[in-house]
Structures are given as C-alpha cells and as structure tokens.
Symmetry: C2
Subunit: 243 residues, 2 copies
C-alpha cells in the first residue's frame, strides 16, 4: 500500500483573509487539493476568506450543501439528507487521500466550533491521518470590530443559538455575564424580547459579516427592524468594568 495523504481541517478565520494563521497559509500554499462547503449559487464564506492564498495549481473541490435554507435539525428528512451528503463528501475526499494526495478542507472560523468539518472528521479520522488547524472564530472577529472587550476576570461567557425556543433562551440568559447569540437570522424579534426581559438589551450589539467588506455593526437598541442575516451575531459584553 502506498502512502496515504493527510486530511487538514483548516480554520481560515472570520472572513478577512489576513486573519488566517501563518500555519493555515502555509498549508494552503502546499496542498494539491482544497475542498470547501458552500450553499448552491454562493461563493461560500470559507472560500472567500482565503482569496489570494491558494496555490493556483491546486484542485478545488466544491461541496454543495443539499439545502439552501436552514431546516429544523430535528426534521428526520433533513438529517438523513445531510448524513448522505457528508457520506458522499467523505468518500470523494477519501479517494484522493488514498491516492496519496493531501487534502485541506476550508473551515470558516474554527473547525471544531460549529463547523461542518466535524462531520467529515468523524467519517475520515478512524482510517486517515487528520490534522486540525484552529482559527479565529466569527465571534472574535465581531467583538474586535465592535471594539468591545467581552469578558474580564471571572466573568462567564455563554454562546447560544438564536434558533433556541424563547423559554430556553430566557433561561440561559438569566445570570449570564457575557453572551454571544449566533444564527440570528429570522429569530431577531424573539432574541430582542429575551434580552429585554434579562435586562441586557442596552448592552447588546448586532454585527453582520464582521471583518468582511459588507460588515455592519450597530447597537441592537438602535436597529429599527428585525431583519437579520443568517450569519448575524448578537454580542452582549460582560457588565464588569476593567480595573
């Protein structure tokens, strides 16, 4: 048996290509195969975040999600179709690894923090050498651009999904210090209400596409409508003042 290639899960950071790590840039320059997830018809955030940093000789493998809108995770049809999609993607990349090619999978943010890469890793790590390169998360990119220190001293940070039911959201906000709410999308009215109830609305900041050219940052209380991007993030910095 010849040498098998290595699978690299490469965190490419929050969007600005200059925010990938030196190690990510080195690996992307050297691998013969670069794979990335994208929604049909879109470039994909991870692909955009490496603009100017790919080896022009590399084969690009685009992995098109089978859905263009988010469905409830509990939907068994959705889960089955996604599992089938990840099976096929793993088989396609596995064939290249078996031929001895190294393969890098681009991951927006950090590969092990809400990343699709985990689904490939689960399938390929038992039989192939995998290395994961951490990345700067979208939330770090967002609070940096908002120039807002998030946590100080012994404060806790709670990261929630905007898709949670209202009661659970309210329950998890209670007693939290700093909060990040991801996947805002169609959930902004519910999130706003939960934050107001928890006394956190005044501190809340809405950020869309932090570190990217289309970046938007505003106090949530100043946002007149409840329209929000799927990748929109709400930040509630901890209330503690620096010393």
């Amino acid at each position: 048996m010849g040498m098998r290639g290595t699978l690299y899960g490469v965190g490419v950071g929050p969007g600005d290509p200059e925010l990938m790590s030196l190690k990510a840039a080195r690996i992307l320059k050297s691998v013969p195969v670069v794979a990335f997830f994208a929604k049909k018809g879109a470039t994909g955030n991870a692909r955009r975040a490496v603009d100017g940093h790919l080896n022009p000789e590399a084969e690009l493998v685009r992995l098109d999600y089978p859905f263009t809108t988010e469905l409830p995770e509990s939907d068994p049809h959705y889960r089955a179709a996604l599992a089938e999609f990840y099976d096929a993607a793993a088989a396609s990349l596995g064939a290249r690894l078996d031929r001895g090619q190294d393969v890098a999978v681009l991951c927006a943010g950090d590969p092990f923090f809400y990343g699709s890469y985990a689904h490939l890793h689960e399938r390929l790590a038992p039989t192939h050498v995998c290395e994961v390169i951490p990345g700067i998360t979208a939330m770090s990119g967002c609070w940096t651009r908002a120039l807002t220190p998030m946590t100080c001293g012994d404060e806790m940070l709670t990261v929630l999904s905007g898709t949670m039911p209202a009661e659970m959201l309210a329950h998890r906000l209670a007693g939290s210090d700093a909060v990040v709410i991801m996947k805002v999308g169609r959930n902004l009215a519910k999130i706003r209400q939960a934050l107001a109830h928890a006394g956190m609305l005044e501190r809340a900041i809405y950020v869309e596409r932090g570190t990217m050219p289309e970046e938007r940052i505003l106090r949530l209380a100043d946002k007149p409508d409840d329209e929000a991007a799927y990748f929109g993030i709400v930040l509630v910095p901890g209330a503690r003042k620096p010393l």
Copy 2:
C-alpha cells in the same frame, strides 16, 4: 501637534507562534515598540508565542504584573494595586504614542477574551487611535490538539472560570451542552466534583499548554491527582453526535 502613533492590541494566539494571524505577523514586523505583560521571573506566554516574529530593532517594553500569584478579585488591596499598575503601563505606552511611535501590545489568545489588554484599551482608547487584531483563543488551541469537535448544530457553549464557588459552578453546568472551564489551577478537586454531579466527568478532558512544547492532554477521569496549572483548561465536548 505632530501625528500620534496607533495602539495595536495584537492577539498572538494560543502559544505556537505559527498560529498567529498574517495580520498580527505583519504588524509585529513593522512597529517600533512591542509591549507585553509577564509575571516577574517568567518569559510570559504572549512573548513566547511571537518567538522569531519580532523586528529585532523594536524596543521591547516588559510590563511586570505586581503579583506573582492570583488573589481574589474582590480583595480591594489587589484591585487598587492592579489599577495603579495599569495606570502606569498606560502612561508609559501613551508617552510613546504621543511621540508618534506605533505600539503593539502582545495578547495571549484573543485581546478581548479575558485579556489584560482591555485594561490598557479602556485607558488609551478615549484619546488615541486603537486597532485590535483578534487571535485564536487558548480554548480553540486546546480542543484542536485534543482532536475534539466541541459544538455541533444548535448546542450551546458555556465558558466558566474554575475560581467560581462550587454551587455556582454546579448551577451553570446543569443543562449546558459543551463546557470550557478556564483557570483550573488549585480548583481541580472542586471542578471534578461538579462535573461528576452533572454527569459530565466521563466526557471531560484536561489540557495544559495546548499547542506549546510542554502540552499535556488527558481524560480528566484518567488524571490520578488534582494538581493542575493555573492555565490548565477542562473541556467538555457537546454530547451530540455529528450527523
């Protein structure tokens, strides 16, 4: 009045110098002044994380913490002494900015995630131009090296400090999905008990100095003693299986 310099809060990542961003590396190559925090007698994690990446001509400004061990944050003497320390550090860097020099402050991990930089930022941002460069957090470095996906789908992540009282720790663990406990240090016995009570001990992983040469990674249940480094981190990956 001449042009004032810019203050850069530069996230240098979890420890491995190759995990800083391209932007951090570019700024560190160009600034005439590089400041960093350290405990007396130690090199400082942030300083080590940029080995090989500083301009040899740059002036290094070492900011020695006034304490070598952590005291309770509530101690008024501790708070006053730290506030005085940050006042002096801000004055010293501010003088260089006023002379027109750009100043980079090295920040282990991400500057706005439990970073000392926030204390300088509060003091200097009202009067000086500040730019913050996000970084890969220590926790990302640790879960990457442990090869452990942390959060999937709609799971929540809770980041806690090991210094919390036992009851609060138990309260915040209940109902959480993925958990990171920072500042483990002398608190490991208490943390272990709280995790066992929450049914999370089996999933827990102890990581020390992730991505650094002295890295240690083991299942917490396999750790025979409760000795832990101040910078030790406990990871509890979410229980959800990838699709």
